[in-house]
């Protein structure tokens, strides 16, 4: 087995140093609200120019792993996801923290990330050639149905009302279509020059989550609730490890969904956590506990996020097709080093490829160790007075948004969306469905239009979208997902009715 042959190289002095420093830097960058994994990897690419190909790739790979896990820290403690991948973690992680279980939530986050991450990397190591063929079977129609499957998750995203969630999701999809039609090239809804480039995911994510949080913090500070909102409990790590590993269903759903979503090029790895969270909630005996601090929510979403990391590198290394935006940046790093993805990578540059994959495996272990260690110091984050935290988040939001594309227009879009979201939240609309709409809108539209053209050239559009094994499987999943949401909601309503006869029945998601 080549992996064992190259393992000593992974653990050699210089590479081990890169792994340790990369893990720590990645965790800190990921925990900073507004700095996404994609941006963290892009920022550090110039540092790899001076390194040899193996070390450079190890640095980028370990950063990818650590930033995805680190993003959960701000999601749990500050209620601002460090990256789109951490939205699902926030849904139960922050309520857990508010219930005085912040340390526990952070422990589950890193342990689950480690488990999911190891599974994702093992898939990468053992099944790359096999899964590359599977990934190639996904054409526009299959990707369109995956986007629709993602949309069916909206009901689980923490809005008080499913209807308001769906409405917010539809508005999110509409917002994502501002700019140019990806196929016809038609300019749409560009009412001002600032909208010329459309609304991209990072400004939207930062604006929708960070700015309303800034408003909330200053409101708390003004009302004298400016000191720490919750305490950090003392909890032994082993207790978290035992509990976490006993959640086999949550870990399995997270790891399987994360791996599958990561494998599919263009599916947008960001939705792995959300789909896994939704599936686990639907299969749970107590779906009503989700969104209120259910540990399984954190376990599923974090294992999904990190299993996606390894899996998203399968189509990248074997076919040159990245499975997520961060994998696309990593592909850039690979090309800069003069390495071209494909089967030759594993024969002509076997040393680089296998050392890199071995390093990813080691980085999962380091991420768990350092993650659990830094979670001890998280109490200092929550001790920061609210007015100082609000000011810091506002500045980081502007900084993070501007630095993605060096665009003032992005900052204006971020601020506008953030302020609008704050007001919408006062009327019961949540940011989760809007972000999901913005993530899935372009995927759904591009693949729908491409599928339409292919269908017209073949046996018709309907035939193209509604035939084929994978299409039918995905359609069945969509129908099941919607059907289950309706049944679950009816059950909750009938339970509420039986508990309080004569009272107004509330529609809870």
């Amino acid at each position: 087995m080549e992996l064992f042959q190259y393992l000593p190289q992974v653990l050699s002095g210089w590479n081990l140093m890169i792994l340790i420093v990369g893990t720590m830097v990645g965790l800190l960058l990921g925990a900073t609200p507004g700095l996404s994994p994609t941006m963290a990897v892009a920022l550090l690419i110039p540092f790899t120019f001076q390194m040899d190909a193996t070390s450079g790739l190890i640095l980028l790979g370990v950063l990818y792993t650590a930033t995805v896990a680190g993003g959960a820290v701000s999601a749990i403690l500050v209620n601002i996801p460090g990256a789109p991948a951490n939205i699902a973690t926030m849904l139960d992680g922050h309520p857990m923290a508010r219930n005085g279980r912040a340390t526990e939530a952070l422990h589950y986050c890193f342990i689950s990330s480690g488990v999911g991450g190891v599974i994702g990397v093992l898939v990468l190591i053992f099944f790359t050639p096999l899964l590359a063929d599977f990934a190639l079977r996904f054409g526009p129609s299959e990707l369109f149905w995956i986007a629709i499957l993602g949309i069916t998750v909206i009901g689980s995203l923490g809005s008080t009302s499913v209807l308001k969630g769906l409405l917010a999701g539809a508005v999110g999809v509409w917002i994502s279509l501002i700019g140019f039609n990806p196929v016809a090239g038609t300019e749409r809804f560009v009412f001002t020059d600032h909208l010329q480039g459309g609304v991209t995911i990072i400004p939207a994510l930062i604006g929708l989550f960070a700015i309303p949080q800034v408003f909330q913090m200053v409101e708390d500070a003004r009302r004298g609730r400016g000191e720490e909102a919750f305490g950090m409990e003392q909890r032994p790590v082993w207790a978290s490890v035992v509990y976490n590993l006993s959640k086999i269903r949550a870990l399995s759903i997270g790891s399987v969904v994360g791996t599958l979503v990561g494998l599919i090029p263009g599916a947008g790895g960001q939705i792995a956590g959300l789909i896994a969270y939704d599936q686990n909630k639907k299969l749970s005996k107590h779906p009503e506990r989700f969104g209120k601090g259910e540990p399984e929510g954190v376990v599923t979403s974090e294992s999904a996020n990190n299993s996606m990391v390894g899996a998203s590198l399968v189509p990248m290394l074997s076919l040159g097709i990245p499975g997520s935006p961060t994998a696309a940046v990593l592909l850039g790093g690979l090309l800069i080093q003069g390495l071209f993805p494909g089967p030759d990578l594993f024969t002509e540059h076997a040393s680089v490829a296998w050392t890199f994959m071995g390093a990813l495996l080691v980085s999962q272990v380091l991420m768990v160790i350092f993650g659990l260690y830094i979670s001890r110091f998280s109490r200092y984050v929550i001790r920061i007075p609210k007015h100082h935290m609000a000011a810091a988040v506002a500045v980081l939001a502007v900084f993070g948004t501007y630095s993605v594309q060096n665009s003032v227009s992005d900052v204006i879009i971020m601020m506008t969306m953030g302020c609008a979201m704050y007001f919408a939240m006062r009327f019961g609309f949540g940011p989760g469905p809007v972000v999901l709409g913005i993530i899935l809108g372009p995927i759904a539209e591009t693949n729908f239009l491409q599928g339409q053209m292919l269908g017209q050239a073949m046996d018709g559009t309907f035939h193209y979208f509604f035939t084929g094994g994978i299409n039918m499987f995905l359609i069945a999943l969509c129908v099941l997902s919607i059907g289950y949401s309706i049944i679950a909601e009816l059950k909750v309503r009938s339970r509420q009715r039986s508990q309080s006869p004569g009272r107004t029945v509330e529609v809870k998601s």
Partner: protein
């Protein structure tokens, strides 16, 4: 304003927003608008059901989850954020951030204004931005908007 009335107004407002999206999506008679039209129709359907459930029964069936907007507390922040956008290009990111950081901490501090507190606030703002500058601009070479100052 009663909770029910605010809930009904929210539903009507949502319908108006969805109708606005539908109007701008259907107005241009050129290709390339099919998907936005589908999204706008989806939003219209959701908003119409929301209105029906909020207006038709004597008591709304959907959750009353609206809260009043605390204008008294948030208007200074709105002004600071708006000012940030206006001044950033002229003054530079770090100088503007320093002002915004300082103003937010002073306006929303639970303690009453005192010179010693203000100097401490300025020190914290300078330290935070100094670390940001050192890590991202000096080490990582991240671009930020620059003006007459940094």
């Amino acid at each position: 304003m009663t909770g029910h009335r605010q809930h009904r107004l929210t539903a009507v407002g949502a319908l108006l927003v969805a109708a606005g999206l539908a109007v701008v999506s259907f107005m241009p008679n050129v290709p390339g608008y099919e998907f936005p039209q589908m999204a706008a129709i989806g939003a219209m359907i959701c908003a119409a059901i929301l209105v029906l459930l909020a207006l038709v029964p004597r008591q709304p069936i959907t959750t009353i989850d609206e809260e009043p907007i605390p204008w008294g507390g948030i208007w200074p922040l709105l002004l600071i954020l708006f000012g940030f956008l206006l001044v950033m290009g002229w003054l530079g990111f770090f100088a503007t951030s320093f002002l915004a950081f300082f103003l937010i901490t002073q306006i929303y501090s639970p303690q009453r204004f005192h010179w010693r507190g203000a100097i401490r606030g300025a020190g914290i703002a300078a330290l935070f931005l100094g670390v940001l500058y050192l890590i991202f601009v000096t080490v990582l070479r991240v671009q930020v908007p620059s003006g007459i100052l940094i």
